[in-house]
Amino acid sequence: MECGDWSPLSQPRLVAANGKAPASWRTPHRRALVLTSVFCLLTSTAFARINVVTLPDRDTVQLTIYNSADLTLVKETRHLTFRKGLNKLEFSWANTLIDPTSVEFRALTHADAVEVLDVSFPPRVTNTLEWRINSEVAGDVVCEIRYFTSGISWSADYVAEANKAEKLMTLAGHVRVNNNSGEDYENAQIRLVVGVIRLVEEIAVLAQGAGTKLPMSAMRRDKNDMRVEALGGFGYKVKEAEERPREIVKEGMSEYFLYTVEGRDTIPTGWSKRLPSFRANDVPVTSYYKFEKEQWDDAVIRFYRFANDKESQLGNEPLPDGDVKAFRIVSGDSLLNFVGATSVKYIPIGEQVDLELGADQDVMIKPTLMDWRKQDIRFDEWGNVVGWTVKEQWQFELQNSKDIDVVLDIRRNFDGDWDLKSAAKYEQVDAQKVKFILPLAPRAKQTFTYELRTRYGTSVTK
């Protein structure tokens, strides 16, 4: 009986007649799988490597990246040409961060006729396993190999472009995928999972060879739990995604959210790639300026507020945490002015978000204490002061040097038993804080005042 073994490298290659892999195979970043073709006799213990075959590309590669656990599920399919009888397939994880205990092989076609009989570890190479596969059929079989690796991560970032009036904006999301796994992934479909995975051990430690002291079964229990979650709904979700036109597919998976990035991309190890995630136009935005002495001293801080909901042309998915750069169109030819940068936390669907974009010199708020008096002084029977009231008169100068309307949010914090009088409209935020919301026209100056009375000692009324 004949047997064959394969190496599904990403490019078709020929195997030398002596069975020795050509040097070009041993490039550091394409060593996950080594496929050679041999004939052997089951009755013989010596294999004669005599055949030459054309090796198949990876047909598909799918990366599902669990950022929170430094964990990526790699699933690849290849068309392999099996011989009837015993076949051999080598898989090497040398110089990669692949978890070798997670490697699985299965036939997607002729599944009943293809069986993995054994796994061995050929001594001539290191960090390589060899599947011994029995096939009842000769010919093409679509196979899937999947495993976990660490070293692949992703991060989100956003660009907000507000219109000149800062009433609407375009919000574009991107994801940057970083591959330091030691393996190149070509034409890979990339899926990103937002959520927290529980792992007792970092896979990288094991894959690098610095094995963990924990028994495999102890480690694996949690990995398997996670794998069930990762793979349980996987087939269904993938099928669903593949039936749709090419777009970014985002799906809820209980406590996780799955983003599928449009199209396919090649991400060599050591590289990172920024991929578009979404773009929403005409997102209503509220630009406002906050002043709170206790937080920012004398600075006036610009904010953009928007909501992750359908009314705002968003709300299709939660937005993962990431950096935001904001720009404003300042001329008719869409010249952009950098407004500021910040980072946002995870934004659930329906949630409102305030982007703190830094100080703006074009808006000035200047509080001045105009008068201070201690009055209504009370004495005890021995003439000691036991109660009094402090009255403060504050004046605020406001100046808008911009050519657009602005809204000011001025916050003041008071201690103790206080009351406030002002012609300006204000809201009480809590027991110790009020806010004045004041619109200010372009190039306008304005003042407002308030009188604060704070009672002390026996004058306290509440």
Binding site: A94, S120, F121, P123, R124, G209, A210, R220
Partner: protein, 172 residues
């Protein structure tokens, strides 16, 4: 001016003319810096040696590979996470060199000296068993297959381990 490099030995440095050291504070500082022992990241250093050895191994430069693995075993005993695969890989080298008895001895040591490193132990025992089986030493091979079954025949083990256990059962 005499130059004291980082690689200069203390003995050489002490032979520097005292006058020259006294004449230059900067030179004295340079001397002290040269004598300082650099902080070494030992896991990273072991990994570097292991990676080089693996490359040599896969390039079939078995002597170079063995030297690398032996160096880890000799100099990095405090890094069992690297010693365990180094010992197993040294067994692989000896097997590839046709030294069956020596390779089996090394695989056996993996199971005894790094017993908590399951994946390394499994690979070592499995390779030992297959080598013995292929060499026609079936009774000796069965000992290792039996060990594999005894230790790893658990439903929670991953697919790759379960396949190995299933095959081992058939040869026990």
């Amino acid at each position: 001016m005499a130059r004291v490099s980082r690689s200069s030995s203390v003995g050489q440095a002490l032979r520097l003319p005292l006058l020259a050291i006294a004449a230059s504070g900067a030179l004295a500082l340079q001397f002290l810096a040269g004598c300082a022992t650099p902080q070494v990241d030992r896991p990273a250093a072991a990994q570097q040696i292991f990676s080089a050895a693996v490359k040599a191994h896969n390039d079939r430069k078995f002597d170079a590979a063995a030297a690398g693995y032996e160096r880890i075993l000799r100099q990095y005993r405090d890094q069992p996470g690297w010693c365990a695969p180094a010992l197993r890989s040294l067994g692989n080298v000896r097997a590839a060199q046709g030294q069956l008895a020596e390779s089996i001895r090394l695989y056996d040591r993996v199971g005894r000296e790094y017993a908590t490193y399951d994946w390394e132990v499994l690979q070592a025992w499995k390779t030992a068993a297959d080598l013995l089986w292929d060499a026609g030493r079936e009774p000796a091979a069965r000992v290792y297959y039996a060990r594999i079954v005894q230790r790893f025949d658990k439903p929670a083990e991953p697919a790759v381990v379960q396949t190995i256990v299933r095959a081992a059962k058939s040869r026990r």
